[in-house]
């Protein structure tokens, strides 16, 4: 049991090395986030009312973008250089790999964003009392995105014209998530019931993810 926990920790250590070969990578990601916000503001103009209207949308888009951008780190690299197989041989079942990869994607890609979310809120003139709601909904939403990203990038490994649409399907699937989370911000009255729905989606994707992605990984490795 202790061995198993150790292994998990070392898995995350490995992922850390892969995602962030140091502090400057984190910094780059965050810079990217802010530069993108700037770009939005330059292109739509700095009017407070409009900004606070669009703010949530902007942040969601950036979240979606960053998780799409990092999809290659998900399985692709480890698949291509055979590390997925080696990890499997070291006792990580495919499902476990998927769960761990999802968690590390969340930690190493989404968390840095979540930390700087309040500053982004200030820049986008979102009033401070909303920030609490925003953070909760983004927290849930980003886990969902991580799960969906896992499914899509494992599907892409199958490298078969039929599955080409893997990544696309998943982006499309994130639409309802976004609708809910965006909608959530306007409606603080029934925030709780909406957050429950989001939480429901989270549970479903989280449950499906290891199963679906694991199957894809297995198939991909067989065909390789």
């Amino acid at each position: 049991m202790i061995n198993f926990l150790k292994k998990l920790i070392y898995f995350f250590y490995r992922e850390y090395k892969l995602y962030l070969s140091g502090f400057h990578s984190v910094l780059t990601m965050i810079t990217f986030f802010f530069v993108a916000i700037f770009t939005f503001i330059f292109s739509i103009g700095p009017k407070d009312e409009i900004l606070s209207l669009l703010g949530v949308g902007i942040m969601w888009t950036l979240f979606l973008l960053s998780s799409t951008l990092s999809l290659r780190k998900y399985y692709q690299e480890d698949f291509e250089n055979g590390n997925l197989v080696l990890l499997h041989l070291r006792g990580f079942s495919y499902e476990l790999i998927c769960i761990l990869k999802t968690i590390s994607h969340f930690i190493f890609v989404q968390i840095p964003f979540l930390i700087f979310l309040p500053i982004a809120c200030i820049l986008l003139s979102i009033s401070i009392d909303k920030v609490y709601y925003i953070i909760i909904s983004f927290f849930l939403g980003s886990i969902i995105l991580s799960c969906l990203g896992s499914i899509s990038s494992s599907m892409n490994l199958l490298n078969n014209r039929n599955y080409l649409i893997g990544s696309v399907i998943v982006i499309v699937f994130s639409i309802p998530v976004i609708i809910f989370s965006v909608g959530l911000i306007g409606q603080y009255d029934n925030f709780n019931s909406l957050i429950n729905i989001l939480f429901g989606i989270l549970l479903i994707t989280f449950a499906i993810n290891p199963w679906a992605s694991g199957a894809c990984l297995k198939l991909a490795i067989e065909n390789n």
């Binding site: 061995n3 150790k6 292994k7 070392y10 898995f11 250590y13 490995r14 090395k17 892969l18 070969s21 250089n81 055979g82 590390n83 197989v85 080696l86 990890l87 499997h88 041989l89 070291r90 006792g91 079942s93 490795i221 067989e222």
Partner: protein, 201 residues
């Protein structure tokens, strides 16, 4: 210990091989030879349950391998034919990651020693993608020592190595066999180690 029974394989509807029987047990070195495309790599993958054979079963300690997959994996080190080291990390980081993930209790001094015999000691802080092909292969083979398991399953372990390193590897193989280990490897090269069995596909 590991028993392959009546294994056959078709890939994209072409029959690759048929009715292979073999068994691995401690103290044996088995070499696998065959032409290009004769299915050596595929056989090794089947053996590791990474590829489903069209027909046949594999037993580990008398039971179907699928029943106790991880107890089998726990005894095996597999070195594939392609480079698996992480290219953007240094040699040291690669070793460290690998040591940790396989929960190896091998000491640092021992690793330094092996790095020295393999003449890799000057490259520990270099990134893997600036190593020469042979040096990368040596780094791959280092996993055999780091993981410290009984069964070694290797796919073309000698490619890109110079004669000197091949000799070192052969010495290592011999030592491993004497320590009750088992080695199964595919190769195109003629080697002079104490091969106890040769399978030709």
């Amino acid at each position: 210990m590991l028993l392959l029974q009546n294994i056959s394989l078709k890939r994209s509807n072409i029959e690759i091989f048929n009715d292979i029987n073999l068994s691995l047990s401690k103290g044996k070195i088995i070499s696998l030879k065959g032409k290009n495309g004769s299915g050596k790599t595929s056989l090794i993958k089947i053996m590791l349950n990474l590829l489903e054979p069209t027909f046949g079963t594999i037993y580990w300690k008398g039971k179907n391998i699928k029943k106790n997959l991880y107890s089998f994996y726990d005894q095996v080190t597999y070195v594939p034919d392609k480079t698996t080291s992480l290219k953007n990390l240094t040699v040291e980081e690669n070793i460290k990651i690998w040591k940790k993930i396989s929960l190896s209790d091998i000491g640092n001094s021992q690793i330094t020693n092996i790095l020295k015999t393999l003449k890799l000691e000057n490259y520990i802080y270099k990134k893997v993608n600036s190593l020469s092909l042979g040096e990368t292969k040596k780094l791959e083979l280092l996993r055999l020592i780091i993981e410290n398991r009984k069964f070694w399953i290797l796919d073309e372990p000698f490619t890109n190595l110079d004669t000197e390193s091949i000799n070192i590897m052969e010495q290592t193989f011999d030592d491993h066999r004497k320590n009750d280990g088992c080695i199964f490897f595919s190769t195109h090269q003629r080697t002079e180690i104490g091969i106890t069995d040769e399978i030709i596909l």
